[in-house]
Amino acid sequence: MSEEIFRLDGRKANEMRNLEIKVGVLEQADGSAKVILGKNIVLAAVNGPRELHPKHLALSQKATVRVTYKMLPFSVENRKHPVPSRREKEISKVLSEAFESVVLTHLFPRSAIDVQVQMIQADGGSRTAAAIATSAALADAGIPMRGLIGGIASGIYEEKCVLDLSGIEDNVGTGDCPILYAPSLDEVSLLQLDGKFTPEQFKTCFNMSIEAIKGIVEKQKDALVEKYVKIRDEILSHEIGHEEVTSIEEVSDVTEAKPHTTTQEEILVEEIPMETETEEEILEIEEEPLPEPTVSPQSLESASAEKHDVFEPARPLIIKNEEPKEESQVSTDNLESPVEPQSVSSESSSPVFIPPDISTPQMAEEQEMAEEQEVSETTSSEEPEIAVGTEEKPIPADAIEEEPLKPVSEIIYEKNKELEKKEQPPARRGFFSSRMAELLKKQYVSEQKEDEETLEVTVEEEDEETPNKNKSDIERDLEFLDYLDD
């Protein structure tokens, strides 16, 4: 086609903008897709089939497909107010209807299939980009459909029929006609139009769009295949890894960094430092107003001289860094339910990453001792999570994974209970005063400690606004706050 170039971006009349489709981009959603069409950036997340709320809207014979089209405030030139506009609501409605036509809704009576489509950037033809993403995301979620839907707009620009109008072309042009179409079914599931088309122009545009959509759906299929090829490759690499340890080493970044002869144990030990890094990051991020991080290393050192300083509290590491092995479950269990020592102990029998020395009985005892000291020192540690974190002692790597956690967690459990008993809520105080009372108590406790650093940390973290006040000041404030509360 030797057409003259008349479009702003140099495209031919029937040429689309660049289209990229990627599925499975979101972890939480049942299915997801990201679509880039020219400057449009769209994310679609599918949740469902699931219970429909409000329940009175549930249909007894079929599922309801609910597509919500949302433009983010920064997605367009002039900030769009976050409240859904009439335009967004209309597009949500027509997209919902369009996709309900292909989804096998009768398979999921009374349920909802929710699709959230977010325009991260919009630049002409956003609803068709949204539809491409929705279709791919539904397929990614495994929602049974009769066919994939593709969409594209065509319109009139400088009196000529052009495909896939960009934002500027849409504004300058005199016609815009987005179409959704399922090529495998030859079904038009959406057609909108505004502007001025002669009947002939309409036919030209319509046919041009239909042709283009066939290509778009092929791209959707490619994107879906790509995801599963990736998963297959991953699985294959893991399977190999179980058989030959060396191949794991090749795969792992950590082991690549320090290549040496490999045994299973060594690899595991190797991986721990990496995990500790992530752990430190976690601590930084989730920083809580508790003195644990500072306290634990000291108490640890006093407890067991044997341990390696490199290894910091490693327990949550295991949690964070899920290896495709059994102990990922175990560790999460520990985190979530430290209150149930039995289940923890039974499951935690094979923690590959736990430094093994701890598992010898003496070590475990020492550990418990340390733990006790620690806990008693810091009155504020009600949180089991923290206790778990400190419990994990870095220890040389030869020992076995026999339940090192059981006794420790039991102790923590008991300690926590004791603490709960001790820490009665201040009697009949309002919000301000009870908070200050807490602060006072903390300070009092920490003053009794020999360790002055700990004291500072406690006070600072508890309330930054009053780090340097002495006790009498605080008491005065407290009275005042009591007054306020009344």
Binding site: L59, S60, Q61, R86, R87, K89, E90, S92, K93, V94, E97, A98, E100, S101, V102, C177, Y181, A182, L185, D186, E187, V188, S189, L190, L191, Q192, L193, D194, G195, K196, F197, T198, P199, F202, K203, F206, I210
Partner: protein, 273 residues
């Protein structure tokens, strides 16, 4: 409309389909036959323009109010048009009070698109002081008895109401203020847009669906036409159209629109230059 009960629709649909198989519609019309259109103009004295339109048993009231406002910065010499449609329980037990439903929003936007894209109103004629003061046209559409095909009926009512609008003449005083004069002139119009709605039931394509046909429809498509152009289109409903059907509907609707426009020209007083 879509909010009605599913069971009724299923039973009615099978009945309507069996009728269609023997070549009949519920009310005896042919597939592309419209119901009678009746206009009742200037029903509201206080409004600058108003009309009630009956399309068969479907009744829609449209009213126009004018007020002086500021133009959009990118069109300093054009008046502004604001279209609103509401679906109140007056029109159907299926409609609820409260914030606009999706159906109401769709009706609003489809009608708005038809009037706007067809340039039915000469907005430039509504400019009073360029860049500062223009007439704002508020076109409000209220179905009062929803017996099918609200899209076409609303478009007819909108056009009928606009055809009755009398715009006050204005004079700019020496101090630069706008004075409204006693005299008025009709709203200047540039085209007569017509909306044609077709629904698909089974494999049949029916124009101007009645209430039951609306309920039973798998899919719906509304085309808006001016004399020579398609100016709007909207597909709705949970079903789909084959690509061949789209072209077929477009061509038939285009022919139909000429027929309806003839009626409009007879009944309404619209002068187009």
């Amino acid at each position: 409309m879509t909010e009605r009960g599913l069971i009724t629709s299923t039973i009615e649909k099978s009945y309507i389909l069996s009728l269609l198989n023997s070549g009949k519609r519920l009310d005896g019309r042919t597939l592309d036959e419209y119901r009678n259109i009746k206009f009742d103009l200037n029903i509201v004295e206080k409004a600058e323009g108003s009309a009630m339109v009956e399309l068969g048993k479907t009744k829609v009231i449209a009213g126009v109010k004018l007020s002086i406002g500021t133009p959009y910065s990118d069109y300093p010499n054009k008046g502004t048009l604001i279209v609103t449609a509401e679906l109140n329980p007056t029109a159907s037990p299926a409609f609820k009070n409260g914030p606009p439903t999706f159906d109401a929003i769709e009706l609003t936007r489809v009608t708005d698109r038809l009037i706007r894209e067809s340039e039915a109103i000469d907005l430039e004629d509504l400019c009073i002081i360029e860049g500062e003061k223009v007439w704002t046209v508020f076109l409000d559409i209220y179905p009062i008895d929803a017996n099918g095909n609200l899209f076409d009926a609303s478009a007819l009512a909108a056009l009928a109401a606009l055809s009755t609008v009398q715009v006050p003449d204005t004079k700019i005083s020496e101090t630069g203020e706008i004075e409204l004069l006693e005299t008025k002139h009709p709203l200047k119009m540039k085209s007569i847009p017509v909306a044609i709605t077709t629904v698909k039931i089974g494999d049949y394509l029916l124009m101007d669906p009645s209430e039951k046909e609306d309920d039973a429809a798998d899919a719906r498509i509304t085309f808006g036409f001016t004399e020579n152009h398609i100016v709007s289109a909207q597909k709705g409903g949970f079903g789909t159209f084959k690509s061949k059907e789209i072209i077929e509907i477009m061509e038939k609707s285009f022919e139909k629109s000429k027929e309806i426009r003839k009626i409009l020209k007879e009944k309404l007083n619209i002068n187009i230059e």
